[in-house]
């Protein structure tokens, strides 16, 4: 018997899911929580195998709740059951430790299958979710070399050639404050301390001839 906790801030959904699962012999809905915080509390007091987790909730959202539950109770599996199929949500909640992701309007069979899969240490994604996450998962992995825009490259080159902000502004036909902003951004992005650092970087990267 798989002990399930339903977490959703909408009563209708809680009741709907609850009644949907009521006839399943292998699944027992142990409790219901209205937000992430309640779910976390219940996980600490009752024996739970699988948490059905909505994501967008007041107090504590599903992602934070998942992370907390997985941290405190590594044995409890989390299955995201949400209305939102945006890749971002999928990615966030999976990173937080969820084992599966299905949509609320999935078929009963799918929901039951997912609960079973998750409880058996498998992952389960509804087919719609799979199509969404393929392709975008590489996104957001930070590149090592910071991107420089065309204008920034031009500004960096002129800084390395010892031109003043005003001269750079004149040459690039833009405002002196914009040049200053570019300069500050460059220092921040390239993780250098000052203009000397910028010049060194420019020489190193061949932005300007040595």
């Amino acid at each position: 018997m798989i002990r399930v906790l339903i977490t959703d801030d909408h009563e209708m959904i809680r009741n709907g899911l609850s009644s949907l699962l009521r006839g399943e012999t292998s699944i027992l809905v142990v409790d219901m929580a209205r937000n992430g915080k309640e779910a976390l509390d219940i996980c600490g007091t009752r024996q739970i195998d699988v948490v059905l987790m909505d994501i967008m909730m007041p107090e504590m959202n599903g992602v934070d709740a998942t992370r907390a539950i997985r941290e405190k109770h590594p044995d409890i599996k989390v299955l995201a059951v949400t209305i939102n199929d945006e890749p971002r949500f999928i990615k966030e909640v999976l990173q937080a430790g969820a084992s599966g992701y299905i949509l609320k309007h999935s078929t009963k069979e799918e929901i039951v299958r997912a609960i079973l899969d998750v409880s058996e240490n498998k992952q389960h994604f509804s087919s719609e979710v799979l199509s969404k996450i393929s392709g975008q998962f590489a996104m957001g992995d930070k590149e090592d070399t910071p991107m420089l825009t065309k204008k920034e490259t031009a500004v960096l080159r002129l800084i390395a050639q010892e031109f003043t902000n005003q001269e750079i502004a004149d040459k690039l036909d833009c405002g002196i404050r914009t040049v200053d902003t570019h300069k500050r951004n460059l220092i921040k992005k390239l993780e250098v301390k000052n203009v000397v650092g910028l010049v060194k970087y420019a020489l190193k990267m061949g932005v300007v001839a040595n």
Partner: protein
């Protein structure tokens, strides 16, 4: 011989002879010339005192000695040669020689005659030598001057000309000039008769020749026909018996240059009768004449300029008397021509006379120019004010040469000054009692004056300070930017200005009006009027915040309602439908009912998706769930998958969460800017950067599109919206764009604790 010889007694005869001898002796002894007798061997038999002194010796030391013994072989050689010649020929000799007798080099003129015995045999010689050193030296001096003088000197023999001209007179011609003019060939003839004896070096230079003999030979061809008038004058003067003649004229020399010359003809003493030696000097005065001409032109020009001036101009001699005056001067002072030497100071009313004299006295080489104002009365007796500027001129040696005084009527200026004084008093009162900060600033940022503004930021005295000293560096920089704009464009400017208080850093908002004050065409100062608009600003900010917040919360509300209400409701219906379909309670449905439930399910599924899409567009879930970074990452990802152009994103230190309002604002601004680039910019590439600097967040959107003129587009709704969103957080928006050079938009929002969470 008809004279009757009176017999003389022998003793008487001896006595006479003796006396004659003594007389002769005394003459010889007293002579200044050297008188001596030598025998055929060249030994001195006798010599007088003067002769001995030439040798620098006594008479006794010389008698019986030869010249070789006395002077040495070298010095005596010439003397011995001449003596030998005399003894050989028996004829007298005359010569000049240069001798050195131990008392310096001297010239001697010597005549020697043979001394014979009763048989006529030459037994010795008698010589007389005269020291002609002085004469020789003066001749040499003359030669030296002749050769080296900077004038052209000619020694000419006019004797043939004289004879010819005398001939004409003898033939009854009285009017020599007319006769020569009528017969020009006679002038040529006369010129040919002039015989040039000598010319000096300067003459060569003047005529452009180097060779003296050929020059003298061809002298008459050295002149061009144009110079004939000079010769004519010369010949007429000679015909009139003059020994001195002077004229000026010009001729063209052999190089083709026209030379202005001054001719001087002097008959040398002793040649007045036959004119056999005439000294002609020719002075090149070309340069002098040119200088004189130029001087006259300058003088004329000065005169015409001075005359044309409306100012009164006069020249005053060192004694203070007016020696020149222009028309304006003459007109004002009603000068009559007879009043030639009036004292300058006396032209003014008695009350001003002393001041004028004093001012003139103060002029010196160190302070040669002074300006002063004097009262005067015009023809109608009206009081006029005059400004006089006097300049003293000094010669090289410091001698006062005179003054120039320039006077102008400054009555209207004086009047204007008085009127200005009155209006200034009115302006002062406005200035001092205004509720606004009013100050005047020069182009260096120096605060010339400031009114008594109660709320002066920093509570320090601003007057006499520079902008740098009374404002924070950042404020001062922006203030100088504004001022420089007015100084360079000359146009008034109205703007808003944020100024941090120097003491506590609180920021005041000012509405600022800058107006240029001109001197001629140049802006010399700028008047700044600043009004504290903190309250107005605060009201405006609240208003804007309320507006945007209203907008956002309305979106939020609709979004939530769709999501929570409709969305969840549909979802619940769908769940219930499934329940119905499978039937926990076992209630089997007919196949038709099953079919319609399935259709219903599908339709509800579509409805759910629709609601989700609408809701998401109003307010992205990601933003308020996960924050700015993921929301913008998703936004960019979505754009990259749906639009043609490439959008790059760079987020630095953006993991933190910020206040929901700030996150929403930055998200919307970013959305708006990238939308602009996509829809209007025709860009191929867009860079989005969001960088957390700790004390501020910089959002920079850069594209390589067609750009636009920020001035024209600044009122467009999209940009205005961006500006108002940024303004709520006291952020700034900087748009750098222009036709065909892309667009860089910077939005920088300062961060404080209330904006982070």
């Amino acid at each position: 011989m008809s004279e009757k010889t009176i017999p003389i007694r022998p003793e008487e005869q001896i006595r006479l002879l003796k006396r004659e001898n003594e007389l002769l002796n005394s003459i010889i002894q007293g002579a200044s010339d050297s008188v001596y007798a030598k025998d055929v061997e060249g030994r001195y038999i006798t010599i007088n005192q003067a002769g001995a002194s030439y040798f620098g010796k006594g008479v006794g030391e010389i008698i019986g000695k030869t010249d070789v013994e006395l002077l040495g072989e070298d010095s005596a050689r010439k003397i011995v040669e001449h003596d030998a010649k005399l003894f050989e020929s028996g004829q007298p000799v005359s010569y000049e020689n240069r001798g050195n007798f131990g008392i310096g080099s001297s010239y001697f003129s010597t005549t020697k005659s043979p001394l014979r015995d009763s048989d006529g045999k030459v037994i010795g010689l008698i010589g007389i030598s005269r020291d002609v050193t002085d004469a020789r030296l003066s001749e040499e001096k003359y030669r030296f001057i002749f050769d080296n003088a900077p004038f052209s000197f000619w020694e000419e023999d006019f004797s043939r000309v004289k004879l010819f001209l005398d001939g004409l007179k003898a033939a009854g011609i009285t009017e020599v000039r007319k006769h020569l003019q009528n017969n020009p060939e006679l002038i040529e003839k006369c010129i040919d008769m002039i015989s040039v004896k000598n010319v000096n070096r300067t003459t060569f230079g003047m005529y452009g020749v180097v060779d003296k003999p050929s020059f003298i030979k061809k002298m008459n061809r050295n002149f061009t026909p144009e110079s004939e008038s000079i010769f004519l004058d010369e010949f007429v003067a000679i015909a009139e018996g003059k020994t001195h003649f002077q004229t000026e004229g010009s001729f063209i020399n052999l190089n083709g240059d026209t030379i202005d010359v001054q001719f001087n003809l002097n008959v040398l003493p002793g040649h007045e009768e036959d004119l056999s030696l005439i000294l002609v000097s020719i002075v090149d005065i070309t340069d002098t004449n040119q200088l004189t001409d130029e001087l006259n032109v300058i003088k004329g020009r000065y005169q015409s300029i001075v005359e044309a001036q409306s100012e009164m101009i006069c020249r005053i001699n060192p004694k203070g008397k007016v020696i020149f005056r222009n028309v304006a001067f003459t007109r004002f002072f009603r000068f009559k021509d007879s009043q030639t030497e009036t004292r300058f100071a006396s032209l003014f009313p008695p009350t001003e006379l002393e001041k004028c004299e004093q001012e003139m006295m103060k002029l010196s080489a160190r302070e040669p120019n002074r300006v002063w104002e004097l009262r005067n009365y015009d023809e109608q007796g009206n009081l006029v004010w005059q400004e006089w500027s006097a300049t003293a001129f000094y010669g090289k040696s410091g001698i006062l040469l005179g003054y120039q005084a320039v006077g102008k009527d400054v009555t209207s200026r004086k009047m204007a000054q008085d009127a200005l004084g009155a209006s200034e008093a009115r302006w002062r009162s406005v200035f001092e009692h205004a509720d606004d900060l009013i100050m005047t600033v020069n182009s260096e940022g120096y605060i010339l004056s400031v009114n008594d503004y109660a709320d002066l930021p920093g509570n320090i005295k601003w007057a006499g300070k520079t902008i740098d000293e009374v404002m924070s560096p950042a404020n001062a920089t922006s203030a100088m930017e504004l001022l420089n704009t007015v100084f360079s464009t000359g146009k008034p400017l109205k703007t808003e200005f944020k100024m941090a208080r120097m003491d506590n850093g609180l920021v005041d908002n000012y509405g600022v009006a800058l107006s240029p004050i001109f001197h001629g065409t140049r802006v010399i100062t700028v008047i700044c009027i600043a009004r504290n608009i903190n309250e107005a600003k605060a009201f405006e900010k609240h208003h804007r915040e309320a507006l945007i917040e209203g907008q956002e919360s309305e979106r939020m509300r609709v979004s939530q309602e769709l999501h929570d209400g409709l969305g969840q409701l549909f979802t619940a219906i769908k769940l219930n439908l499934q329940h119905l379909k499978t039937g926990v309670d076992g209630g089997g449905l007919s196949s038709e009912a099953q079919e319609s439930v399935k259709t219903l399910e599908e339709n509800i599924g579509i409805a759910i998706t629709e609601v989700k899409n609408i809701s998401r567009n109003l307010m992205p879930d990601v933003l308020w769930q996960f924050g700015l970074k993921p929301a913008i990452e998703d936004l960019v990802y979505k754009w990259n998958t749906t639009v043609e152009l490439e959008i790059s994103l760079e987020l630095v230190d953006m993991n933190a969460r910020f206040s929901p309002e700030l996150e929403k604002a930055l998200f919307r601004i970013c959305q708006e800017l990238v939308n602009n680039s996509i829809c209007h910019g025709q860009a191929n590439r867009v860079y989005v950067q969001l960088i957390n600097h700790g004390n501020s967040i910089v959002l920079m959107v850069e594209d390589d599109g067609i750009g636009f003129d920020p001035k024209e587009a600044s009122t467009g709704f999209g940009l205005r919206n961006i500006w108002s969103r940024a303004e709520v957080f006291e952020g700034r928006v900087e748009i750098d764009s222009g036709p065909n050079r892309g667009t860089v938009t910077t939005v920088e929002v300062p961060l404080n604790n209330s904006l982070t969470r």
